[in-house]
C-alpha cells in the first residue's frame, strides 16, 4: 500500500502519543537501572533477594493462573449459551458491567461479601453459620472480584471463535457415530481452543496487572504485584523499586503468555491460514 505524503501527517498524533507514553516508560526503566553509583542491576537484585517481594511475585502468578482458569471454565458455557440464544440482548447484558467503573463494582462486592454483608447476613439469618465467614480481605475476595470483572472479556473472546464453528460439523460427527461428549471433546473444543487460549491470555495479563481489586478486597499481608507497585510509587515514593518491579512484572507476563501462544500455533496448525 502506498500512502500519499499528506497521509503521513495523520500519523503525527500517534507519534506524539508514543513519545509522551514512551518518555514515562523510559524514565521508569532508567530509574531502575541507574542508581547513585551509575548503571547497575541493584534494584533487581534487591527484588529477588527480598523474600516478601518474591512471595508477592509468586502469589501474583498463582492468582493469575487461578483466575484465568475459573474465567475460562465459567465463560465457555456462557459463550455457548449466548450463541445458541442468537439474541443480541443477552450479549449486551454480559457487556453491561463494563460500563460501570471497576472501583464501584469492587465496592459492590464489599457490600455483598463483608462480615455483615449480604451473604453472611443470609447465612446467619438462616442459621447455617453462627459467625460470619471470611469472604473478603483474603484470596477468596480477590478471586471473586477479579473473576467477575474479567468474565466479559473471556466470554467475548470465546464467543467470537465459538460462533464461527460450522454447526453442520456436529451433524457430520453424529452421523459418524460420535455422541455428545465425543463431539464436544474432539470437534467443538479443539475448534474453540484459539478462543479459550485468547481468553486465558487476556485474563492472565489483566490479573497480573490488577491494582484496585486486590487493594480493596485482598489482605494487607498478601499483596499482589500491581498493588505493591502502587504502594511503592504513591506511598513510599520508592521509584527504583517500583520500576524494577514493573519491569519484572512485564517480562514475567510475556514469559507466562509464551506457552499459550505456542499452544495457539499448535491447535491451529491444520487450519487454513486466516486471510486478513
Amino acid at each position: 500500500m502506498r500512502l500519499s505524503r499528506a497521509a503521513f501527517l495523520l500519523l503525527l498524533p500517534v507519534l506524539g502519543m508514543i513519545l509522551s507514553l514512551g518518555t514515562g516508560v523510559f524514565a521508569l526503566i532508567e530509574q531502575s537501572f541507574v542508581g547513585a553509583d551509575g548503571l547497575s542491576l541493584k534494584a533487581f537484585q534487591a527484588f529477588v533477594s527480598r523474600r516478601e517481594a518474591m512471595s508477592v511475585f509468586l502469589y501474583t502468578h498463582q492468582m493469575a493462573l487461578l483466575v484465568s482458569a475459573i474465567c475460562v471454565v465459567v465463560s465457555f458455557p456462557l459463550a455457548v449459551f449466548l450463541v445458541r440464544k442468537q439474541n443480541q440482548a443477552y450479549v449486551l447484558l454480559i457487556m453491561m458491567p463494563l460500563l460501570v467503573s471497576i472501583v464501584v463494582r469492587t465496592y459492590g462486592w464489599m457490600v455483598i461479601l463483608g462480615p455483615r454483608g449480604l451473604i453472611n447476613a443470609a447465612l446467619m439469618g438462616a442459621g447455617i453459620t453462627t459467625a460470619p465467614i471470611r469472604l473478603m480481605f483474603n484470596t477468596t475476595g480477590v478471586v471473586i472480584g477479579l473473576v467477575h470483572i474479567y468474565i466479559p472479556f473471556a466470554t467475548l473472546s470465546i464467543l467470537t471463535v465459538y460462533s464461527k464453528i460450522d454447526r453442520s460439523l456436529v451433524d457430520g460427527a453424529a452421523a459418524l457415530g460420535a455422541g455428545p461428549w465425543r463431539v464436544f471433546s474432539r470437534i467443538i473444543l479443539p475448534l474453540a481452543m484459539p478462543g479459550v487460549i485468547a481468553a486465558a491470555s487476556i485474563v492472565y495479563l489483566l490479573t497480573i496487572g490488577a491494582v484496585v481489586t486486590p487493594l480493596l478486597l485482598g489482605s494487607i499481608q498478601q499483596m499482589m504485584l500491581g498493588s505493591m507497585i502502587y504502594d511503592q510509587m504513591l506511598v513510599t515514593f520508592d521509584f527504583p523499586s517500583a520500576g524494577s518491579a514493573a519491569i519484572i512484572l512485564t517480562l514475567s507476563a510475556a514469559l507466562a503468555i509464551l506457552p499459550l501462544q505456542l499452544a495457539d500455533r499448535w491447535v491451529t496448525r491444520k487450519l487454513p491460514a486466516e486471510r486478513s
Binding site: S168, D171, L176
Partner: protein, 357 residues
C-alpha cells in the same frame, strides 16, 4: 422379496404450520441405489434428516434394519450421511477424518489406519492421508467425505446433493465414481438430487417427490416411460402437453379430442372417464418432422438447437408450440428455421392425465 433396510412409515414433518413432508411411506431395499428426486423445497432434505435422526418426525415412524429408531439419537443409528457441505473436520487431516468414526467406535488405531488406507485407494486418493482438508480440491473433498462414511460400513448411506457444488465435468465424473463405489461396497445409498438426468443415470429406483409427497416410485425407465402423474411426466424428461377432452375409453386406452390440432387421437390413460378434461403428454422423441406428403398435420419450424447427438426443433402447429427431437446423422439434411414441415406424432406413446382444474 428384497430385504427392507429403511422403512419410513406414514412420516409427516410440520414446521409450525408448514408441512415439509406429508404422509410419506417409503421402503428402501438392501444394496440398492435409491434417489429422491424433486424440485427445490419439496422436502427431500427434511425426509433425509428424519431418517438420519437430525430431525424428529411430527408423526410416523422410522425403521432401520427392522428396529424402530424414531427415538434413537443419530449416533446410535446404523447409518451414515454425506452432508451437502460435506462437513469435513478442518482441524484434522484426511486420514484423521477417515479414522474418526472407527476410533469413536473403539477400534484399534492400527486397524483403523489400515482401513483408512484401503478406503483412500478405493476412492482414488491413495497417498493423500496426510493432506490437510484445505489443501484438497472440491472433488477430492467429496471423496474424503464419502470415504469416511463408507469405512464404517453403515446399513445405509444418505447423500444430500453431494455433487451440487461441482462443475459439470467433475460432476459427471463423480457420478460414475459414486456408482462404481456403491456397487463395489454394496452399501444401500439414498441419494438426493433435483437434477433429473443425474437421477436417471445413477439410480436403481427413483422416488419422485412434490410438495412433501411421493408422486411415484420406480426404476428410471419406468418413471420416464410410464409416469403416473402429470407432475412426474413434466419433471422427468422433456414433454409436450396438449389440453383436450376424453371422448371414449377402452381399457388402458383413451380417445382424446385435441382442439389445438383439430384431431382425435388414441393415447394411454388410466382412471379417465369420457367427457373428462385431460392433458395429453408426448415426449419430443415421438414427434417426427418430415417433409413427405401425407403427414397428418404440418407445422413451421421456429427454432433449431444442435446438441451433438440430437437436434432439437421447436415447431408451431396451429397455435400450439411443440418440441421435437431426432437423432443427428451427418447425411441428414437439417431443417432451417421458418421451414414448413410435416409433423407426425406417435400417439401410442402419449399419455393422458386428468387435468387438475
Amino acid at each position: 422379496m428384497p430385504e427392507v433396510v429403511v422403512h419410513a412409515k406414514a412420516v409427516e414433518k410440520k414446521y409450525r404450520d408448514v408441512a415439509a413432508v406429508r404422509g410419506v411411506d417409503l421402503e428402501v431395499f438392501r444394496g440398492e441405489f435409491l434417489t429422491l428426486l424433486g424440485p427445490s423445497g419439496c422436502g427431500k432434505t427434511t425426509l433425509l434428516r428424519m431418517i438420519v435422526g437430525f430431525e424428529q418426525p411430527t408423526t410416523g415412524r422410522i425403521v432401520i434394519d427392522g428396529r424402530d429408531v424414531t427415538e434413537v439419537p443419530t449416533y446410535r443409528r446404523p447409518i451414515g450421511m454425506v452432508l451437502q457441505n460435506l462437513a469435513l473436520f478442518p482441524h484434522m487431516n484426511v486420514q484423521e477424518n477417515i479414522t474418526f468414526g472407527l476410533l469413536t467406535r473403539g477400534e484399534r488405531k492400527s486397524a483403523a489406519l489400515q482401513k483408512a488406507t484401503q478406503m483412500l485407494s478405493l476412492v482414488g486418493l491413495a497417498g493423500f492421508g496426510h493432506r490437510l482438508i484445505h489443501e484438497l480440491s472440491g472433488g477430492q473433498k467429496q471423496r474424503v467425505a464419502l470415504a469416511r462414511s463408507i469405512v464404517l460400513e453403515p446399513s445405509v448411506l444418505l447423500l444430500d446433493e453431494p455433487l451440487g457444488a461441482l462443475d459439470l465435468k467433475l460432476r459427471q465424473q463423480m457420478q460414475g465414481e459414486l456408482k462404481r463405489i456403491q456397487r463395489q461396497v454394496g452399501i444401500t445409498f439414498i441419494f438426493v438430487t433435483h437434477d433429473q438426468e443425474e437421477a436417471l443415470t445413477m439410480s436403481d429406483r427413483i422416488v419422485v417427490m412434490n410438495a412433501g409427497r411421493i408422486e411415484q416410485i420406480g426404476a428410471p425407465q419406468e418413471i420416464y416411460d410410464h409416469p403416473e402423474t402429470m407432475f412426474v411426466a413434466s419433471f422427468v424428461g422433456d414433454t409436450n402437453v396438449f389440453a383436450g377432452r376424453a371422448i371414449a375409453t377402452a381399457g388402458a386406452r383413451v380417445s382424446v379430442e385435441l382442439p389445438a390440432l383439430g384431431q382425435t387421437v388414441e393415447v394411454q390413460g388410466r382412471g379417465i372417464t369420457p367427457g373428462m378434461a385431460v392433458n395429453v403428454m408426448i415426449r419430443p422423441e415421438f414427434v417426427a418432422l418430415d417433409d413427405q406428403p401425407g403427414a397428418p398435420c404440418s407445422g413451421q419450424v421456429t427454432d433449431r438447437t444442435f446438441v451433438g447427438a440430437d437436434i432439437r426443433y421447436s415447431v408451431t402447429v396451429g397455435n400450439q408450440n411443440l418440441e421435437a427431437r431426432r437423432p443427428h446423422r451427418p447425411e441428414d439434411r437439417m431443417l432451417a428455421p421458418s421451414a414448413t414441415s410435416g409433423v407426425t406424432i406417435d400417439w401410442a406413446n402419449g399419455i393422458a392425465f386428468p387435468s387438475a382444474a
